[in-house]
């Protein structure tokens, strides 16, 4: 067992995701006076030697995970801690360079698993940016004072608007295809045509042109919104920001300080206040338990504001978020998760009532959006998710989402075991498909989703079976064996096939830009990452920056 645990321990020091503005190395968050604090400005100034790992230098504002961790943190803090903000602007502290995108040498040194998870995390963060605009009325502007290439442009294109300095040399580009033989996988290809609606023939030209496009052509093709001269650049940026502030629908709420979670990380998991991650390296199974709220959770916006980030809804889901990332990055071998929720259902329903009764309150709304994000991160976690519902369980309302989002649910068939639906299961936390998890679960029959929603009482195992809410209902005698075998079997299957299968089945229903990014774009990208033309000994990604030229196998599939 001890050996197995050591095997599970990561080869690199574990990645930690908690940070705070005073500890940022690569970003500066400030609120320029000229916009009276209504604009948050994130200035990118990547420290060459400040990367997460050794062996590469983050030149030209290129980034690695450490840069994106800070960005994700900053976006959360802007929403919770700076309620006066109405718009966000991205700038660069480097002269004539906005960002060169993800650092290629870092990618070259990274394992496939790390690359995929790095891309996924950056994709999630880009989507946070768009959600911030759609959900909270805080639009964002990319102020490109210099060249934005690859991931640099992909960050820009995740903003609502892009202004590119027209100085005769600053360009936007997606050089991944021509230079590296891979895709602009942080949403670039998808957003070009789906979001900015760049004509697909122009998108084709743009995506094969290593040096990108500048000035007027970039505007004509819809790749940026405006390209003023250097002298007029700041004026154009300020004008657009002022317009964003003026049309913002954001409402002020009390600031909520996102206090440190201070997880107790150890070799086989993490203990937080409400969440426990316990990794059994031998079985390659992790148990992830979320515990019940306190008895006196806030029931009004004022109480929520005074409880702050200690409120269960905020704290438990932030912990869950951190645990998901911990699992993704630091426990690569874990195949499957026992998803558990402990406590009394009534306490969960009590704690979540504020989300229903005060849905229009801006701070409550932010909490809802936070939970939405965490649940999406859960959906996008490439591990088998089996929810286990027993006597101690509290799968009610917001926590029932975890069971509905799982690949399977096992519910113990004895008296006293129950689950509860609530109004929140009706679409408060949509998936990437924009369906609720209940709708996705009952994609074949919408009436069953409706029927489950109107069950107001506790739903016991038999009733849950009738309603179709659970997969299996072993009795007390079978439970232990059934569950054990289910996990053993799961852990024995090909991890690649599992990742692909789960991703296909979980996102039943319509495509959205988000599902295309995590599905189509990422899947192609991850395929290309594995192909000799990219990562073989003579592959373009392998040889980038090296003296030899790539050699392609020109067979098309």
């Amino acid at each position: 067992m001890a050996d197995a645990q050591q095997n599970a321990a990561p080869a690199h020091p574990p990645v930690r995701f908690e940070t705070a503005p005073e500890r940022y190395r690569h970003w500066k968050l400030d609120f320029p006076k000229e916009h009276e604090g209504k604009v948050a400005r994130l200035t990118l100034d990547v420290q060459d030697n400040g990367g997460l790992r050794e062996g590469y230098s983050l030149k030209l504002n290129s980034y690695d995970l450490s840069v994106d961790i800070e960005l994700a943190d900053a976006l959360s803090r802007i929403r919770f801690e700076h309620p006066e903000v109405r718009a966000l602007v991205f700038a660069s502290a480097k002269d004539r360079i906005f960002s060169a995108g993800a650092n290629i040498y870092m990618l070259g040194l990274s394992s496939h698993t790390f690359k995929v998870n790095f891309c996924k995390f950056t994709n999630e963060t880009r989507l946070y940016l768009e959600q911030m605009s759609a959900e909270s009325g805080i639009a964002s502007l990319a102020a490109l004072n210099g060249t934005a290439s690859g991931g640099g442009y992909e960050l820009a294109i995740a903003c609502d608007e892009i202004v590119l300095s027209d100085d005769g040399s600053s360009a936007v580009s997606l050089p991944e295809v021509p230079l590296l033989g891979v895709l602009p996988g942080t949403g670039g290809l998808t957003r070009l045509v789906d979001k900015r609606k760049v004509r697909r023939d122009y998108a084709d030209v743009f995506s094969t042109l290593a040096e990108g496009v500048r000035g007027k052509r970039a505007v004509d093709w819809g790749i940026v919104d405006e390209s003023p001269s250097r002298a007029q650049f700041q004026q154009a940026v300020d004008r657009r920001l002022a317009a964003m502030v003026a049309r913002s629908s954001a409402q002020t709420h009390p600031s909520m300080k996102l206090t440190a979670l201070a997880g107790d990380y150890h070799v086989a998991g993490t203990n937080y206040r409400y969440v426990t991650l316990a990794v059994d390296a031998g079985r390659r199974v992790a148990a992830r338990t979320i515990r019940k709220p306190e008895d006196d959770e806030p029931s009004t916006p004022a109480e929520l504001a005074s409880r702050g980030a200690d409120a269960w809804l905020v704290r438990a889901f932030r912990e869950l978020d951190d645990a998901l990332l911990d699992l993704r990055f630091n426990y690569a071998n874990v195949a499957a998760i026992e998803v558990r929720a402990e406590g009394r259902a009534s306490a969960v329903l009590q704690a979540e009532r504020i989300l229903v009764e005060h849905a229009a309150d801006p701070l409550v709304h932010e909490v809802t959006c936070l939970i939405r994000r965490v649940l999406k991160r859960y959906d996008n976690t490439a591990r088998s998710l089996f929810a286990l519902i027993d006597q101690k369980s509290a799968f009610a309302g917001v926590l029932l989402e975890l069971a509905l989002g799982a690949d399977r649910t096992y519910m113990l068939a004895v008296d006293g075991v129950s689950l509860r639906t609530s109004a929140l299961n009706g679409g408060t936390f949509p998936m990437a498909t924009e369906l609720s998890r209940l709708q996705a679960h009952f994609y074949h029959d919408a009436s069953k989703a409706a029927a489950a929603l109107v069950e107001t009482a506790a739903i016991d195992t038999a009733r849950a079976g009738e309603l179709g809410l659970i997969t299996f209902a072993p009795d007390e005698l079978d439970w232990e064996d059934e569950v054990r075998i289910a996990f053993e079997e799961r852990a024995s299957l090909s991890p690649d096939a599992m990742t692909g299968m789960e991703a296909n089945l979980r996102f039943v229903g319509p495509e959205t830009m988000e599902t295309k990014i995590f599905g189509r774009l990422s899947a192609w990208q991850n395929w290309i990452f594995q192909r000799p033309n990219a990562t073989g000994a003579k592959g373009a990604l392998t040889l980038y920056g090296k003296p030899e030229r790539p050699e392609f196998d020109f067979t098309r599939t």
Binding site: G168, P178, E211, R230, K546, E548
Partner: protein, 476 residues
């Protein structure tokens, strides 16, 4: 319109009269070029008759025709050096294959970028030098300035010819953009740093033509090796003109050294203040200008470690200067050791040779610079003056590459940032140096018999004419 675009007006050996596509492109571009020349070319001398050399063909008597001509009437021509029969690629992964007469699709963007980057420097230097005529030390020097200027204009034509002939619509757009960027302009700066620096006095001009044009020489030598034959032939011909630009710089500084050393000897003074009072430029000031232009020019070679350089070489786009001198033309095996300053100390880094080719080119450049500096020092020594001008460490005052923005002294040691700012004026031209140099150069010398006090006359004139020949006939 098309009567403007003919082989009489535009001397060439590229078959312009048969090439409809090139004619069409030039019809649009040429008027804009003239507009640019009139706006941004030498200011105040466009109606004067200048004793200029005009190339009308590439053979030995055709490339150097001398006569008085107004600059806007100068016949900017398009020339390729003679083709080398059965030329094959001389380096990189495609070594030994026939060179390309057309641009291969896969290298189109890289080649265009190389040509645009080179092309951008040509009009840039004309812009930088446009006011110098008003403070010329003699008509001889004034003419040399204009000769350099018109030839830089021709170099622009040479690059534009390649863009027009081989890069389609993109090439035509890039050719236009070459006329739109402006040296030192905040909105539309020239591409490379040194070409946005002000060059408003003759000491800077001579340093520029010595150091910065010499970067041009080495870039052209490297491009002359290119597998893209039209680029190779174009740059080979440009090199013959470039040699004159460096001659202007080298002899300009040499004459200044001569003059200052002479005054030191005659007056018996050596304190800078005394020498300045005697109207010559002290060697300390010259050394600081040297430090500035040398370091700015070193930056033009790019980063010490460069994947672009490796890929240009591998693909046969850009070689090393005089590739023939090397034995191994693939450069896949060796390493190049560079110094890197990391966490408080220097360490040695072995870089695969192909990735270090910028540094290899820079090595050849440094050596070439040293030869010129040695000549200056011999001139100084001939007067019995013991001052020695020195090239500073190539790590000093860099803004590109491994040592960019590090506080490094002229000897190449990293020092405290504070002590760099404290010592800056010992190493680089100070405001008072600049004010002094400007104060010597407030008025032009237009009398053919005269020479400014701060510079000695040249040993000989141009094309057999005496030094006091009327090289520029002022429009009265």
């Amino acid at each position: 319109m098309s009567n403007v675009i003919n082989s009489e007006r535009i001397p060439n050996n590229v078959g312009l009269s048969e090439d409809k596509r090139l004619q069409r492109a030039l019809e649009e571009w040429q008027p804009n070029y003239l507009k640019w020349w009139n706006e941004m070319g030498p200011e105040g001398f466009q109606r004067d008759q200048i004793f200029l050399r005009t190339a009308i063909s590439v053979d030995s008597d055709g490339w150097a025709n001398f006569g008085h001509v107004k600059m806007p009437d100068y016949r900017w021509g398009i020339f390729l050096a003679d083709a080398v029969k059965d030329r094959t690629i001389g380096f990189g992964d495609n070594m030994g294959q026939p060179v390309w007469q057309q641009v291969p699709g896969e290298h189109r963007n890289s080649l265009r970028r190389l040509i645009v980057t080179q092309g951008d420097t040509e009009p840039a230097s004309v812009e930088q030098q446009r006011l110098l005529g008003h403070s010329c030390p003699s008509l001889y020097d004034l003419r040399n300035l204009f000769q350099v200027n018109v030839e830089e204009g021709r170099h622009l034509w040479a690059m534009v010819y390649l863009l027009h002939s081989h890069f389609g619509r993109d090439g035509r757009e890039e050719a236009e953009a070459l006329l739109e960027r402006r040296s030192g302009d905040v909105d539309k700066p020239r591409i490379l740093g040194a070409f946005n620096e002000p060059c408003t006095d003759w000491l800077s001009f001579f340093m520029f033509t010595f150091f910065t044009d010499r970067d041009g020489k080495f870039q052209l030598l490297a491009l002359a090796e290119s597998a893209f034959d039209p680029l190779s032939r174009t740059t080979r011909f440009m090199l013959t003109e470039e040699a004159h630009h460096m001659f202007v710089g080298e002899t300009g500084i040499l004459r200044m050294c001569d003059r200052t050393a002479q005054v030191m000897k005659e007056s018996g003074k050596d304190h800078p203040d005394d020498l300045r009072k005697l109207g010559v430029i002290d060697f300390g000031t010259m050394q600081r200008y040297l430090n500035l232009w040398y370091s700015l020019s070193l930056d033009l070679f790019g980063s010490e470690v460069s994947s672009n350089a490796a890929s240009f070489f591998a693909n046969g786009l850009k070689g090393r200067a005089k590739e023939d001198q090397y034995e191994d033309h693939r450069a896949l095996e060796g390493f190049y050791t560079i110094d890197r300053f990391n966490e408080g100390r220097w360490s040695k880094d072995d870089i695969p040779l192909r990735n270090a080719l910028n540094e290899v080119l820079r090595d050849a450049y440094v050596e070439d610079c040293q030869r010129g500096v040695d000549k200056w020092n011999r001139t100084i020594a001939a007067h019995g003056v013991s001052v020695v001008l020195k090239l500073p460490s190539r790590k000093f005052h860099r803004h590109v590459g491994a040592n960019a923005n590090l506080p490094i002294d002229v000897a190449g040691n990293v020092i405290a940032t504070g002590s760099f700012s404290a010592k800056r004026d010992e190493w680089l031209p100070s405001e008072s140096d600049k004010a002094f140099v400007q104060s010597l150069m407030t008025a032009p010398v237009f009398d053919p018999k005269q020479m400014a006090n701060w510079i000695s006359p040249p040993k000989q004139g141009i094309k057999g004419r005496p030094v006091d020949f009327e090289y520029v006939r002022r429009d009265a």
